[in-house]
Point group: C2
Chain length 210, copies 2
Amino acid sequence: MQNDMITVAIVEDIREIREGLKLLIDNSDGFTCSEVYVNAEDALKGLVLSRPDVVLMDINLPDMNGIEAVRILKEKCGDTQFIMSTVYEDDTNIFESLKAGASGYLLKKTAPANILQGITEVVNGGSPMSTQIARKVIASFQKKDSIDENEILTPKEKEVLKSLAKGLRYKEIAGELNVSMETVRTHARNIYEKLQVQSRTEALNKVYGR
Amino acid sequence: MQNDMITVAIVEDIREIREGLKLLIDNSDGFTCSEVYVNAEDALKGLVLSRPDVVLMDINLPDMNGIEAVRILKEKCGDTQFIMSTVYEDDTNIFESLKAGASGYLLKKTAPANILQGITEVVNGGSPMSTQIARKVIASFQKKDSIDENEILTPKEKEVLKSLAKGLRYKEIAGELNVSMETVRTHARNIYEKLQVQSRTEALNKVYGR
DNA sequence: CCCTTCATAACACTTTTTAGGTATTTCATC
DNA sequence: GATGAAATACCTAAAAAGTGTTATGAAGGG
């Protein structure tokens, strides 16, 4: 278990948030903010040496995507836990972050007490996340034959798949995406072929699990 | 946090399992088995007074369903955590248990170390459960318009719905359930009517959420 | 400039699904 | 014993989905 203070690093480009977090952490028992970074580049250099317990990493950084930063850092600092910091609960980004190696995420609007709790949870091997995200994670990490849609489907195909998931008919999807129904059918067909399935439901099961 | 020992009560009618659990718990650091019950009636009487930290409750008890017992006890002993004990991973029962107030469940075949871990998790506010069940729970508690299938669909309709969810065709479902395809179609039609939808995917979205 | 991928679209054809109407049997309940 | 819910099953028909094939223009990499 952690013997003493939990050392936390912050990577955040917005000053108010950055300083607010540092203040919160430094003034809380058992926590200390060891360092702050305003961009990914500096963070990459500094964090490989400092190795804090936890890094609060903003997803939207000016120079580099926070997700990429985590992917790189997690390779080099295996013991450091990464918590993504984000404004809104963007499924895709959060999910990608977790795949990149983050252990959880916190919304920037999260109450101070809950931020500390989230950090503690991560240190204790937990993963603070909403049940929405948990669902995606569960589906992805535990499901035998769930597939990572992002790596085999083209952007348009993913759009079509989303509409298919809603239960819309080809005609309705065509209207929604402003293409002809034939195009929708072609996309659907290509999706099915890539996923090696023969129906909408099978495709959804493969991609979203169940 | 819990200051000392975690007190665990056991409600289980099968002697070998009951005694095995007691032995395990009493011989583990930080755990103590405060009491054992062989049926629900005795448990109801005893537990309201003893208030252990955790109750391991068998789902299949001779006199009363363990789920009902939890429903009643959770009212009176709000702080006590209930973990359902079950032989096989029966979605419906486990789900009902969680609705009744249980915090998690453990399979009887679970390895001793994992049983202790599960108990610890529950005490720490966690919910030991497979990702399968977690998904149902999440869907049920978080989803806007998900419908409680159990209260409007007949048993056979629920079976058919499950098969529809797998992406099977009517013909395949007919084979699986040993009825004619026409029967499957009738069931599907009735399901759709009850759920007020017009397609398989819509039905699945309503019931299982997404 | 060629090659590949992607988005778009069309045509023909088959299979599956959905919709509506009926009917029989069983089983529990009143 | 009537009533009603549930499971079973058949018929017809239309709508939707899935399969095979082909084609064109745009974008990007080599």
